[in-house]
Amino acid sequence: MFLINCPFCGEREQSEFKAGGEAYLERPKQPTELSDDEWAEFLFMRKNIKGVQFERWNHAHGCRKWFNIARDTSNDQIKAVYKMGEKPPVK
């Protein structure tokens, strides 16, 4: 359990938010060209990092906007919160 500083609403409890998983998984530009291996990579394979991970979150019970978080998954400490489209301010 931790607090998340929503870039639009401010600091709220994590239970107000919905985790959207690993960030920067780019949707294939040419889906018809993709091999089964490439589809598996996009759909299922995850880094599942123990350490600082970039991820997407949605303020589901608040402003309902999406944004990015850099969070250390080994201790749940949030390193940075930034808006969609912005560059990650750490690492």
Binding site: M1, R46, D76
Partner: protein, 417 residues
Amino acid sequence: MKNKYSIFSLIKNAFSYHENWEKAWKDPEPKKEYDAIIVGGGGHGLATAYYLAKKHNLKNIAVVEKGWIGGGNTGRNTTIIRSNYLWDASAGLYDHALKIWEGLSQELNYNVMFSQRGVMNLAHNLQDVRDLKRRTHANRLNGIDAVYLNTEEVKKFCPIINTSQDIRYPVLGGTLQKRAGTARHDAVAWGYARGADEMGVDIIQNCEVKGIKRNGDTVEGIETTKGFIKTKKIGVVAAGHSSVIANMAGLKLPLESKPLQALVSEPVKPIIDTVVMSNAVHAYVSQSDKGELVIGAGTDDYISYSQKGSHDIVEGTLNAILELYPIFSRMRMLRQWGGIVDICPDASPIISKTSIKGLYFNCGWGTGGFKATPGSGDLFAHTIANDEPHKLNAAFNLNRFVSGDLVDEHGAAAVAH
């Protein structure tokens, strides 16, 4: 040869105040080379080593464990054992395990306190009723015992359940698997460790894997906190940390590691003599032999290795428990904890070879791996020894995420994942 545990050894040792029991397993330093190394000294890893030595005649085996054996998720789960899964592949896998459970204490000469007290799954809405009836039929076609119970029969089997139709999610029925039940989780790890040690397996504790050495597409050994150990075969059974080990070998797995919580109450006199699970409201409860209520909560939806879950998850589970069992309203909770579970997109495990020769993974058990411990070890040992899966774990390969041939137990099994 180890001394057999029996009533006579108990009496004999009583005369020396139980101070001269022989050690159940040694605590060796690693050798330079092994024929096979199992990474992870939980129930699944120790069972794998045990069956590799027992059934596949491999003797030069090591189990490396970063902490102490059975100190991870083996000691954190809620000890439920059942095999009432919907799909044929899952039914085969879990019932294989259940059949081994039935004779495990005798086989290991170690009391794993396997108790076939039955597992009941409740239905709270019409779709639950349809799903549970369908699963009952599927189970019976696969030779797994299952019966559907109406509300009165549920009440008769477990009288403390609130079957009033006025509650938010009334009990409309349920299924019962009588062969299902619980076991003592620590004893499973200890029993397999003792059995494996007797056959010459080195159980190396406080030995964390730091890297996997490869020569092209073949493994050569592991780097550990106790130095480099050479081997041709590595079986990884690292539960929540499977992705961490996979990343060391340059592999990606279809896993997400999330906290799963459980809690126990203060001990009370026997009040619930079965296991009751509820998928829809996510509450399940049983009572340990010490008298504690053992309650399983759900997973958090974010990736974390912190072994701490969110308070609202526990709160939600306890809300449901209180509505279903008003008698527990003044129970105090004694302990609460979280373990990290590795969840596959289809909520089914992976027992598989990989693209790297000599590297095998047994992972993705998610929220329900304990029940499969003996079967998982047996089938993983087969896969490692023969470099080919057994027919019972053939469906649980890594390639299913490429082929699309998933074993989709999400929501279809008896409890939500």
